[in-house]
């Protein structure tokens, strides 16, 4: 069931990607488009100015928000009583799901009861594929309120897809190390695990760029000790023998035999320093991302005569 569901989600994403691009092109000046819920593709001959479509809604006074599909630039109403509020950042309409999904629903992404789950209806944009989406705060334009630079900065952080360390250890997970011998700790360095990286979130008239770099990793070793490293660490090679890591490591004083699964669970938390500028403002944020692995440590049995 899980596999099938995963497959369906993947297919949904694939179908969405497959149909979004052609329909986007069709918006500009005609062509074949394949909406996800039709059994067949259709030929679109009308342009963005076709009657009864586009334009700001009849209730929008002049000078208010302009709503556009990010991929095509086509103007779309900012509010629809069925679909909700348009977000220029995401290219989707958002409507809070009422009643909210049950706490165990995967749509909460583990955040229940914080934030809200929104029904999205998307016309092509970054990051959102349509369906139930959890957000900590209302998206751009929700309730007629355009995104503030600080909100855009938060979305820019989301777009960077920062992760916890891509953990490397010596001994590697699955092998057994020894009490009293050095354990090496590092993360494979990439834009999403150590940075630097950046992303921009924008709405018409306001664009916010966020830049992130990791400043430290706190390694909770699972034995009551934690190690703070201000570098990504040094990958171990066999040439290093029993040497201590020059940058980031730990020595266990006891075997992991008494631990669950006979292994220490190592939890590594990266602290990211984020700065952002845009919309005439700037600011700084700190975000953390965590990942974990397991390390087995055995006792060296020495016979002394």
């Amino acid at each position: 069931m899980l596999t099938r569901r995963g497959c369906m989600v993947a297919l949904a994403a694939a179908v969405f990607l497959a149909v979004t691009a052609p329909s986007a092109q069709a918006d500009g000046g005609g062509g074949v488009t394949c909406p996800p819920d039709l059994p067949a593709c259709v030929v679109v001959v009308t342009g963005p100015g076709s009657p009864g479509t586009g334009g700001t809604g009849p209730t929008d006074p002049p000078g208010t928000r302009v709503c556009k599909v990010p991929s095509t630039g086509a103007v779309t109403p900012c509010y629809d009583p069925t679909f909700g509020w348009w977000s220029n950042v995401d290219g989707c309409y958002f409507m809070a799901v009422e009643p909210p999904p049950p706490p165990t629903d995967p749509a909460w992404n583990g955040h229940y009861p914080n934030g809200r789950v929104y029904q999205t209806t998307c016309l092509g944009g970054p990051g959102v594929g349509g369906g139930w989406v959890w957000l900590a705060n209302n998206p751009d334009g929700y309730g007629g309120v355009a995104a503030s630079p600080a909100t855009l900065a938060q979305r820019a952080v989301d777009l960077m897809r920062l992760t916890g360390p891509d953990i490397g250890t010596a001994p590697t997970a699955g092998k057994t190390g020894l009490v009293g011998l050095p354990v090496w700790l590092w993360t494979v360095v990439s834009a999403s695990t150590w940075g630097p990286t950046s992303a921009t979130a924008s709405v018409p008239g306001v664009s916010v760029t966020a830049r992130a770099k990791a400043t430290r990793i706190v390694w909770d070793m699972g034995d009551g000790h934690s190690v703070t490293c201000t570098s990504p660490g040094t990958p171990y090679t066999t040439a290093q023998g029993d040497a201590l890591s020059p940058t980031c490591g730990h020595v266990y004083a006891a075997s992991s035999a008494a631990q669950p699964n006979h292994a220490y669970t190592v939890t590594a938390t990266t602290t990211w320093s984020v700065t952002w500028t845009g919309g005439g403002q700037s600011g700084a944020l700190t975000v953390t991302r965590t990942s974990s692995t397991q390390v087995r440590i055995g006792e060296l049995q020495v016979l002394v005569s």
């Binding site: 329909s23 909406p35 819920d37 039709l38 067949a40 349509g130």
Partner: protein, 192 residues
Amino acid sequence: MHSNPRSLVRAIAVVTVVAALTTACSSATTPPTQSPAASTTPPTPSTTAPSPSPTAEAATAALASYSSYWTAKVASFADPASKPDPKLASYAIDKALAEAQSTLLVLRRAGIAMQGEPGHSAQATAVKLGDPSTVTIEDCLDSTKWTPVYVATGKSALAPGQATHVIVDSLATVYNGRWVIRESITHKDRPC
């Protein structure tokens, strides 16, 4: 040069349709009367009304909601310039609702409406009871009498060279006390 793979696909499709028809449960308007393939309860040949298993009841309820979902979708796509049928949001959630609504917006912008009604041969292929309960539904959608036309001219908007019968895979679940369709994928590339 496509003849070999194509005939193989056709052969598989025929087998699928036959399998679907022999255990078919539902059409757009007829509620299912048969236990689904996944049911563990064999049909009872007695004259007293059999009490269906929880699995069969879930499949029946999910297929009824699937039928309601399609009725609302067909009504909504028939007049994309107007508000969608309110029952669409009652019987579809999450990705299924998102895709129905985004399709509606594409139709609205393009000035295209779907005329007529599709045919169905939906069956429940898997039932899971628990938290959450789910029913997997496979349908062979017949779109020979459900076609896109330009609202302004009444002429067909159908792109040429496409299958008229395609597989639709859906996932039903329980939300707000009723069976709803959570995901529904129309496989334009999988004829049946």
